[in-house]
Point group: C2
Chain length 430, copies 2
């Protein structure tokens, strides 16, 4: 058996024979007319069903009053229902005066934060960012494609920063932030990072909080999307960045974002942002002009369903029970089919929604294309890098959450065949 044999050490003849076998298997996959989507980190139906009872609230009680709000159905409270702020402030480990609740999409809150920065600047900005000849952002990569798409739309120049096992390459981050005042900030997905699954170390958090930045209004966009999204009972711990920034004398440096999109419903959750009171007070003022308030009925629904932070944590255990077998299956197939072959590596995350998969350099696009031609859609290769360009063409983001486990198995078996074919062809110099 060649299962554990390193591809690079195979003879050319052996490798050619092997390639021919693999192509045969690929042909069989193709003939099956598969139609599977592995591209987005969407919760599956069983996960969505976990929160369905929430939709009975507050209808069930027909009580639309809270201690702080005369009628949640009516106008008002542009920064959110106080009871919901209390709950989610606990989830983000900030105080209720440091949080604003929005509607259903934290991506919208991030976009709107950029949009305000362009038009008005952020708290303490000498001028609106749109007045500057250029604005640059540091983008640890692989990262989240939708973050990068916002920068691209707004014509913000993205600088790719390598991701390590403990977070972004901080030597480079510190050097660039200190020397270039057109670098106005940085994207981070600090916990169960999208897609690499790692959690920033305490040292990285402290260095981000305390580093010197040439721009006085430098902002870290801290997308804590997977704050309670553990896959194990030994969850990663992420150091509190807002505290770290305060301690370092840079209290206004960070905007924290999160949502219940992958706690309750992706389309109908509650999004939130947290920051220093200076930041929040300015944003609250601007928000009061933009909106008559977020959907407070939905916020009350969340409060009545979860009751407290413990309710959220218990709920996340149910998600993990659905997700963990899928992650385990993906990793087990990768290990059994590709382990020891030295043609790929992959992450083994303790939480989040993705497994990050690296091929040999120059192979990722071809692998995704091949899988697509056999009916299995993966996130486009390169999508996890600024401008969709993976400099090494290596990274593929695997999203195991959505497909049923039997489909997932088929998709992963196919992926492993494609990886081996593309790698063999590469090694053969095709």
């Amino acid at each position: 058996m060649d299962l554990m044999q390193t591809y690079g050490k195979m003879s050319e003849e052996y490798l050619k024979r092997k390639l021919s076998d693999l192509e045969g298997i690929y042909g069989e996959f193709r003939a099956r007319g598969l139609k599977l989507d592995m591209s987005r980190g969407k919760p599956c139906k069983e996960q969505l069903d976990l929160s369905v009872e929430m939709l009975a609230y507050p209808y069930k009680d027909k009580d639309f009053k809270t201690a702080s709000c005369a009628d949640v159905r009516n106008y008002g409270l542009a920064d959110g229902l106080p009871e919901a702020k209390e709950l989610f402030a606990k989830m983000l480990e900030v105080s209720a005066s440091e949080i604003i609740l929005g509607n259903n999409s934290s991506l919208s809150m991030m976009y709107d934060t950029f949009s305000r920065a362009m038009i008005f600047g952020v708290y303490g900005s000498p001028e609106p960012w749109c007045r500057l000849p250029r604005v640059k952002f540091l983008c640890p990569s692989p990262g989240y494609d939708r973050h990068f798409a916002i920068c691209e739309l707004l014509n913000i120049e993205m600088i790719t920063i390598d991701m390590r096992d403990d977070g972004p390459d901080m030597d480079t981050v510190e050097r660039l932030a200190a020397e270039d005042d057109s670098i106005k900030g940085m994207w981070c997905t600090p916990k169960y990072s999208n897609p690499t699954g790692i959690t920033y170390s305490d040292e990285v958090v402290d260095r981000l909080a305390s580093m010197r930045t040439a721009a006085k209004d430098f902002r870290i966009f801290w997308d804590n999307a997977y704050v309670v999204h553990h896959l194990t009972d030994k969850p990663d711990r992420l150091k509190n960045i807002l505290e770290a920034c305060k301690n370092a004398g840079n209290p206004d440096r960070v905007f924290i974002f999160a949502s219940t999109s992958k706690i309750t419903f992706p389309g109908s959750g509650v999004a939130m942002m947290a920051a220093s009171e200076n930041n929040i007070n300015l944003i609250r003022k601007q928000l009061g002009i933009r909106t008559i308030g977020p959907d407070k009925i939905n916020q009350l629904r969340h409060v009545q369903f979860f009751k407290d932070i413990d309710g959220i944590e218990q709920h996340m255990i149910k998600h993990a029970e659905i997700l963990k077998p899928k992650f385990d299956m993906v990793i087990s197939i990768l290990e059994s089919r590709l382990g020891g072959k030295n043609i790929a590596s992959w992450s083994r995350p303790n939480g989040g929604y993705f497994i990050s998969f690296d091929t040999l350099p120059g192979c990722a696009s071809a692998v995704v294309k091949m899988a697509g031609e056999a009916g299995v859609v993966f996130t486009p290769a390169g999508a996890t890098y600024p401008y969709g360009r993976d400099p090494q063409d290596r990274n593929i983001r695997i999203a195991p959450s959505m497909p049923p486990i039997e489909d997932l198995k088929v998709a992963m078996e196919l992926l492993c065949i494609c990886v081996q074919i593309v790698s063999a062809r590469k090694l053969l110099g095709d």
Copy 2:
């Protein structure tokens, strides 16, 4: 009885005696320690209760699929649930390809439309509006204070345009729009206008659609907030502006906004915008970067509750049954207390949320202040004008919807006393 006597024709002595009587009555009001809020056009509890059964959907059926959407709970459909687009396109008399649905606030959609115009320009803009030395907007007034607040925040210079019984003063609008290319657009609340209650005539709609504008990217922000909000069974008809713009060869001129805020729930309705396909296609592209989709569960709730446009119309009759007696009461008190006195005039709208009340020039602020000191809050005088400055200090916006009818009666009696006192003092040269 002096009820119908014109104040201006009273002798000074008589007027002084009358003033003294009125001040006595005001003192009695003040002693009652009232606490009433007449300031905002909020639906009352009975109106909110009309839609409560909606909150049972789609929970009741636990069916989250539609013909067009595999699971409304999940991500996707950034421009709205197709079934909901069909329904609301009928309400706005546009096609489903000309509408985008948002979350709960049409004000947010208006703000975001400005925000995009500042950063990117609108469809066909030679450059982003934020690059221009100045941007001006035409503001028919009295108008909606929150419209003006958006312009003020964005540093868009507002030009006050007089409101007539058939819409804005079109001679002035046409002249200014044609001569000044920094005038990029215009606010309109064309049906049951906030606050004057009038509906634009067909001629005004046609002139708006066909007028020459110096700015090639001139946009009418058409806030059709009260599109189905009739108070009588002989509702006003508003000519279809999008059709008129197409017929005039200016298909891209108008952005139409509306919401179900005053149909279902102010905090939890569905907001929408409509425009030409050129406009909508560009906005949809930008929206796809901003959001993972609006709250489609809430959109499905609305579709299941109303079923069709007839369902919406029937529902609005129930709102009218609650609102009409309040409007009638306000107008009847105004007529019986102030009629024939030549110190005030007021609107008698066929729909919408407001009665517009004009005092003698220079009296509105003093009246609102006096009423406030006796515990009844009206919208601040001037609020219905750009920068909060009513050039004649005459207009007061009366919002009869929220208070119970007995409170409304007290508030209006007090208002009539305050108006008479302030007018008498004015005529006496105080």
